[in-house]
């Protein structure tokens, strides 16, 4: 067993354990903090896959923005849900069954695939993935159109979010 494999196993177990805590813990602030731990584990997985740009974006965008947004939302809405009543609905066993079946189905489907135990090729030393990615995202022959569509979607979604969450009554009272 090489050091890379040991690192992967430790990080993967930590990631899956934190993910289980995200979906089962009672306190939602703790769930959001466990989500940060899961996201950090996924960032390490990206680093192991030598996708350095994705690892950095995972930390900056997911942990820095999305997880903090979740913590804000939990704190703005947690008056009545804190520690009383069940956190899972009454059909939770059906959800668990479906999740186990999904995992089993994906596992058996992928096990029959010929690339199942493929190992990674060595990246040529002249190949710079971050440079390639930047070129691909901005060149007209590459992926500039999907990239621009994604940015327009993000602007539209954020304007829409401000409009939906805006409270006209509190706006009046401030005048």
């Amino acid at each position: 067993m090489t050091g890379e494999q040991i690192t992967f196993l430790v990080v993967a177990l930590g990631t899956l354990g934190s993910a289980l805590m995200v979906v089962t813990t009672r306190n939602l602030v703790h769930a959001a903090l466990w989500l940060i731990s899961t996201l950090f584990g996924v960032a390490v997985i990206f680093a192991l896959l030598s996708a350095s740009f994705l690892a950095v974006v995972q930390v900056v965008v997911y942990i820095g923005a999305i997880a903090i947004l979740f913590i804000f939302a939990v704190m703005l809405t947690r008056k009545d849900m804190r520690d009383q009543g069940p956190q899972l609905n009454k059909n939770w066993w059906l959800g668990a069954l479906l999740a186990v079946l999904t995992f089993g189905g994906l596992f058996s489907l992928l096990q029959g695939w010929s690339g199942w135990s493929k190992t990674a090729a060595v990246i040529p030393s002249s190949f710079d993935a971050v440079n390639e990615l930047g070129n691909a995202l901005t060149s007209p022959t590459g992926y500039v159109l999907p990239f621009e569509v994604a940015s327009v979607l993000l602007v539209a979604a954020l304007v829409g979010a401000v409009y939906v969450a805006f409270n006209p009554r509190s706006g009046d009272s401030q005048k």
């Binding site: 899956l16 009545d80 956190q87 059909n91 939770w92 959800g95 999904t102 190949f127 979604a157 829409g160």
Partner: protein, 102 residues
């Protein structure tokens, strides 16, 4: 070296955990947390297939970057809806949100 199957198993397990969270949590914010787990497992898959396939074809990473952008858009709109619903109905339990118009 790590075989591709390890990454695929990790990703499938993360996706299933997220699916369980989406299907069985009562709190709307917790359902969004489950969706985040599922989107992350997809990104792990995309990065793994990029690394174990043709490395010079960068499309896998481009797709993962776009998934990041869509996840940010999804979570901002979702949380805005949850906060708006909480202001009007004073609840974030998905079972109790059963009216089309208040």
């Amino acid at each position: 070296m790590i075989p591709l199957s390890w990454y695929l198993i990790l990703s499938a397990a993360l996706f299933s955990i997220g699916l369980f969270g989406v299907l069985s949590r009562r709190n709307a914010v917790a359902i969004l947390l489950g969706i985040e787990l599922m989107l992350n497992s997809v990104n792990v898959n995309l990065a793994a297939f990029w690394r174990y396939g043709d490395v010079t074809n960068i499309a896998g990473q481009v797709f993962a970057v776009i998934v990041f952008a869509v996840a940010a858009a999804e979570v901002s709109v979702g949380l805005a809806l949850v906060i708006s619903v909480y202001r009007r109905r004073n609840t974030v339990i998905a079972d109790e949100l059963d009216l089309m118009k208040w």
